[in-house]
Symmetry: C2
Subunit: 227 residues, 2 copies
DNA sequence: CAGGTAATTATGCAAGCGTATAATTTATGG
DNA sequence: CCATAAATTATACGCTTGCATAATTACCTG
């Protein structure tokens, strides 16, 4: 993720004799630039490195502007968390939604979840950094819960569809439990793959993920058609 | 975890007219008290709350003493991380090692991993707080890797034994993959159970964990004898 | 093209941080 | 019982932090 230089080459910021000293931008643009800077910094340097000053510098504004858009730093961090989790979910489901039968879509989801760019050290670091805030901030906790349930519910829907496709109908209770279980495998592999990449051989995780989820569901998700 | 009052009731610290102003303690005792204070603080208030001053106060010493035992704060945090992860592993395996056949021990391990006190919000918060440091500190990364592999290796040994007990012999490659998969389920459930306790019904996780691990291994781990 | 308004910068403050170092106090051993 | 070393406290420094507030600046509207 690169920070954008909002200035024409001949009109640098703060240049004596330059015409403008800064440029007004729309609120949305500035807010998203600040959020992006926050995410990049937490990913690169950890929560500790994401100070108000560093964020402002990264976003190429002065620190006072942060207060103009976010009444507190915690608000900015919350916005960044929201953005990150939404992006992660979207990224994971991106290749899934379009077409194919349920089994194919499920396979795509599982594979995407444990493959770069979803599996990524910075992404896991980011997530861990936020998780620490979650315990202390009510709003963060709410985002955490919502994100988790959203992903799990979509997974559950896909599982039910894939099983029906195979001629099996299950109750809501079992669907719930299967989704929790599959979600746990995916989460676990995603986490470990991101936090400890050197512990796994290249391309090892998708195979393990498919075999495990398949075993839990009683479906053969690897190569070939059903069963 | 309570902080201990090292002083006799009649001889409080800093009391004017009291005899001693402090008491010398063995290095091990002080080091462990500081580590414990650090863990408690990170668990309760997050990484941000675990300042040198707060840690010293919690351990009932002055802040200068920290520097006497740990040359830097990062060293103290490292020691705390080591302690926490070792404790977590030990706690998880505690009920497992003693007796029983391999299948029984495996069941015990899986259940213990997703049940309090191993599943615990503070413990997960602690773990997440440390994970953030892991990305930036080489020594932390080393502890992280070692802890992960140690747990997974012990799990793998247990899996191989349980399968052999059922008359199945597997190769090292498959043993490795099964261990990775089962470890991921356990990790995922542990994480979610700790971070989002209200998302699960009471006692729901052990059942899900046993069914999932059983499905992955092709073993019936729930009630009754094998198969 | 003037004037108002909102965006942005500039400046500063008070508190908290980790660390360093010197001064005390306790315990130990001859 | 005194000397010595180690544990512990006391104090302070320099830096960074988040936040506040006032001074500028750019842009929009008439």
């Amino acid at each position: 993720m690169q920070a954008y230089n909002l200035w024409p080459p001949t009109m640098e910021k703060h240049v004596t004799g330059g015409r403008r000293k800064f440029r007004r931008e729309g609120a949305d643009l500035r807010r998203s630039a600040l959020v992006r800077a926050t995410l990049d910094l937490i990913a690169e340097e950890g929560v500790r490195g994401a100070t108000v000053r560093a964020i402002a510098e990264r976003a190429e504004v002065t620190q006072g502007l942060i207060r103009h858009y976010f009444s507190t730093k915690e608000d900015l961090v919350l916005a960044a968390y929201l953005e990150h989790m939404a992006g992660l979910t979207e990224q994971t489901f991106a290749t899934v939604e379009r077409g194919g039968n349920a089994r194919t879509r499920l396979v795509a989801l599982v594979v995407a979840s444990v493959t770069p760019p979803v599996v990524d050290a910075a992404s896991v670091g980011l997530w861990a950094g936020f998780l620490n805030h979650v315990r202390q901030d009510e709003r963060m906790r709410e985002v955490h819960a919502r994100t988790y349930h959203e992903f799990r519910d979509r997974l559950e829907t896909l599982i039910v569809a894939a099983l029906e496709e195979a001629g099996r109908v299950i109750g809501t209770g079992q669907a719930r439990r299967l989704a929790i279980a599959c979600n746990a495998v995916i989460d676990g592999l995603w986490l470990e793959g991101g936090a400890l990449p050197e512990a796994f051989e290249a391309g090892e995780l998708p195979g393990i993920a498919l075999k495990s989820v398949g075993a839990i569901l009683g479906l053969n998700l690897e190569r070939g058609e059903q069963i």
